[in-house]
Symmetry: C2
Subunit: 230 residues, 2 copies
Amino acid sequence: MESYADFKQRCQLTDANLWAHFYQLHQSKIDIKKPKIAVAKLKLIFQNMFKLSHDKGFALMTLRDLSRATEMSLGGLYSYIGSKEQVALMVHEFLPYLYQEVVSKHLDEMSNKVEARTIQSKDEQALRLFIMQHIYISEFLQPWFFFAFMEAKYTSPAIKKMALDNEANTHEQLSKLIKKCHSKDNKQRLFLRTMECKSLLQSWYLKRPLYKKQNINPEQYAQYVINQII
Amino acid sequence: MESYADFKQRCQLTDANLWAHFYQLHQSKIDIKKPKIAVAKLKLIFQNMFKLSHDKGFALMTLRDLSRATEMSLGGLYSYIGSKEQVALMVHEFLPYLYQEVVSKHLDEMSNKVEARTIQSKDEQALRLFIMQHIYISEFLQPWFFFAFMEAKYTSPAIKKMALDNEANTHEQLSKLIKKCHSKDNKQRLFLRTMECKSLLQSWYLKRPLYKKQNINPEQYAQYVINQII
DNA sequence: GTCTATATCTGGATAGAC
DNA sequence: GTCTATCCAGATATAGAC
């Protein structure tokens, strides 16, 4: 199985790239026009936002908290974020965007590579790949995934719908992949297996600190999930 | 395996009993002294609170929302709840209380009954019982469990600590039970299995509507989890 | 581009009539 | 026991100086 480090390299997932992509997506909404400054400040703002939001929840985090943590003034903050609601929106919009921009581009290339040198069935490989990929991405974007899950409902109906659509979409994809590997399952069993897989994937980013404490790395966890599901 | 209906009967878990216990625990903090009135209003208040809190989150739910939903005045509300924070506290305190009061009393009786008529090992039966029991309780108290999980961090440090302790306690119990059934597991594997079990248990009350849509009942789900873990 | 100062509003909480 | 009216802290958001 591909290692987490290889995966990041293959998809060019570096810290610098991440924030550059984030800036690129939201450029139009941000008052500050010099990219270098903007990217650095966005990183500062959102890293602190994730931390505060993790500790007390987005709704209870005030923009004063955030301005204190970033050592920016309230006015300064507002030239980046537009409004508090928009902060949440920016995160929710970014996840599907990054997936499109970065990860899906490398999908074909990868599945070809795999096909050539394996004895496992193609369907099984596709499922493995999906699971592995999900764990690796959610490892790289752990605070983002955590935020998206925990704060989906605390914002406007538009965001809520987007989050639900993302969720339903993942479920659909996963269900199709599992169905091919377990063709004998009836409808309910397929559903249970799909839910189980999603729970295991969620557990990784919702309870990351616990896994860290036990020294379990992404590769080991991916292997475990694959064994349980396939 | 015991059915959900039998379980409720055995532990005398009825809707009326539930709210009576709730009133009993918090009697001292409530201004209203006639039990009949108080119990009915508490039910009204907390059922609406769970609904609002599920939809927009506890932090964004205002007491004005709650007063509108319950058709009570703000002043009226305050004679039951003391403060907004106390509302959350009352829920978090109730869960371990009810477990003590109602469920644990029937534990010995049950494990004896099981022992007599089974070919499975005692350790395995204990684990089965724990899983089944957890799913049945969280079925009966679904809104309570959902609230406790999603809103644990949005309240005072005292509550947060209580929620974390409850969580750690469940983990410990479960881990011990699993260890006896899978004595060959190393430390990491035991941990992964325990986490998996907790994820599956959580999934039941976090995503209850999805299971409902597929017509999966508590018995089926309990059976599925037991098969996966044992 | 960043800051200070401030306008405006919302929501938790209480006092006191009925 | 329940309601109306009100207080006031604290939050978002903006205007305008530097």
